[in-house]
Symmetry: C2
Subunit: 451 residues, 2 copies
Amino acid sequence: MISTSAVDAYIQKNSARFVEELKELCSFPSISNHGAEAVKPARDWLGERLGRFTDRVETLEAGGMPALYAEVPGAGRRKLLLYQHYDVQPVDPIELWDSKPFEPAEKDGRIIARGVADDKADVMARIHAVETLKKVGAIPVTLRFLIEGEEEIGSKTFEKIAHEHSSKLSADGCLWESGTSFDESGRPTLQFGCRGLVYLQLRVRFLNFDQHSGLASIYPSAAMYLIEALASLRDQDMNIRIEGFYDGVVPPTEADRRMMAKIDPEVEQRKQLVGFERLVRDPKPENVIEQLLFTPTCNIAGVTIGYQGPGSKTVLPAEVTAKLDFRLIPNQEPAHVLESLRKHLDSHGFEKVEIVWSDSEKPARSDPDSDVAKAMIECVRELHGEPILWPFMQATGPMHPVVADLGIPTVLPVGVGRPDNRVHAPNENIHAADYINAIRLMCRVWERFGA
Amino acid sequence: MISTSAVDAYIQKNSARFVEELKELCSFPSISNHGAEAVKPARDWLGERLGRFTDRVETLEAGGMPALYAEVPGAGRRKLLLYQHYDVQPVDPIELWDSKPFEPAEKDGRIIARGVADDKADVMARIHAVETLKKVGAIPVTLRFLIEGEEEIGSKTFEKIAHEHSSKLSADGCLWESGTSFDESGRPTLQFGCRGLVYLQLRVRFLNFDQHSGLASIYPSAAMYLIEALASLRDQDMNIRIEGFYDGVVPPTEADRRMMAKIDPEVEQRKQLVGFERLVRDPKPENVIEQLLFTPTCNIAGVTIGYQGPGSKTVLPAEVTAKLDFRLIPNQEPAHVLESLRKHLDSHGFEKVEIVWSDSEKPARSDPDSDVAKAMIECVRELHGEPILWPFMQATGPMHPVVADLGIPTVLPVGVGRPDNRVHAPNENIHAADYINAIRLMCRVWERFGA
């Protein structure tokens, strides 16, 4: 057992360099949405970094963006799988950024860059934890890094990677990328699963080319058709009208309800930060968390119709599109949701709405009483105070193959996430101090789990 | 009276140069939507051209884009007002153009450029007609050119210009810019008025910044709110649900019906060109023209929501917008329509939909039996065969101040317009031969009206 003070001292001494190296990783514009060439430099850079600690570095491929894999042998018999991703979201709307998304800036103790919160701080903190333990003593458990390259575009081939390389990924526990790690009041939070996702693009095309809008008296409007189709899917209170959509939904258990009762919904803090007038369904404060987790969604992520420049253009658009995402909860099935949507469109007079493409991920839940969960809970308690436990997080990750197919107990640890990180939005940022603490926590958990 | 053959001979001899000069005018990117600087070079160039024939060239200003005015004195006592515009529509979607919009191309007898059909061919044909008659003989009527610079953005200050400079614009008749001049079968068409327009932008903003789409379980969706508001305005068959929208509508007269009965609806030709499966309301062929003219519209010209790039981005958009245009028929009042829309939104639970800005033009009708109309009908009959007469055109122009306030009988002449001109769309084009005929017709009508 390495002394905690020696570990902390090493981290403290190297903290400025650690932050600089995180910024270096964040300078790679690894937007998976932009294709394989966009993500490769970040992966290569990480491969070189991990190669400093082990010769077992390779890429795992299954037709999509390659995942980076590295095994760092440990002293103990236990193996720990570490899941991260090196890709990031697009930067639109670029005009709302105060600094350039891939020229990491520091301001008021924060590091600002696309991907710094989601998920490059996790990747780098774990590499810095390896460095720290190697320098101060030894790695207590065998670490299996799996850093994928298409998390932000739906982890299209992750399931295949997990199945084809199951022996490389097998472990006694898994630390996922961190979710929202601290609530508005600064209390640490842990999660034990995630929601699923169906993402898809719709298209309606009625005319060969855009028409002068005066012709709208006789020519059909693809825009109006799509708008009516979208309006038919749900109401303002997220009651989804697609028959069969809620099939498979498992309501919260008593254990879930006990966990959720301890979570502060932080309604006033959210209101101040996010600026809404009222929440969907106007819930009582004690029901907000259950609504957040257990209300599957149908969200309009994007709509592209006609003229969008300044001023006016009088046009009847020939073709229109929309992007939707559905967040699913255990045990909704993405394939069934997609099929139900198609049936809904066809039976409500919207058979001309085409589903152009779709991606999906299944929801996943893990046991909050597993050994890896217990080790994490104890270490967080020591470092940050009593953690708030979430049955699963509101976001999505490709956790299902790990949790369900490989059967590895999984926990979403405390990392750098705070409610004002602006994840997926302009000016994504983290606190530099949180980054240093993430390295410290990682070292402790590995030691505890390996003990 | 100058001999028609001398006029035609001059035009024929100079036709290649005339086409080149039209292309030169079309090389100016005079998109009024892009502001005053964008339109000035085209106006200056036209001012210089008109200055070759008269020293009475000036700009008329009333706070918006200046209009170009030129009086060319004529031999006879009659005065003829010529209305055109030198501004053009934006070029989006630029990727669908086969050549650059402001580098005029020639292909298969066509000239391809933004604005060539709407309305630079009219402007230039009339200048070339002046040159022709001056060279061959004399100008038979006093011509008053009014070439405005903001027709494509709603002629915001045209009414003011018309009122403030009414003595300069007064005339015994007015030739408007040409509309669709030939139907699918090549028959010439004339119109005696136009529809009105209300164009506006809507906005909904519920959140301070875009959110991770998982939060759609509790945060309200501006997108869904706007979509429901839009869906409430009308149905797929252009039945508009805004109370008071149809106030003031005058049904077709018996004379209107007689004119419209002679118009071929060209349903099959339209279908082949435009590619629709069915027309709005599925009308009988004999009702298509009445529906085209006498059905006022509520058209979705543009919607801007969330992520529109390639692939996926899971975002709950904070702010969304839409652009709508309403085509109005005599005697709907734009101000009343706008007021009715606001009331509709407020009374249907959409009070948070903001009308950010709006522009409007009133509908206008003129007498098809006026002297200028008769002169035009006769000359078209001689040059192109029996014209098809439209009570008014389906499109909009700022005709109301001229027809109603200044009381000038007005006709939309035959010009270069054909159904496949792709006006307002990519690859806008005209037939070069139509351009030459437009010059010939103009010379004849001026002579006939001045006789």
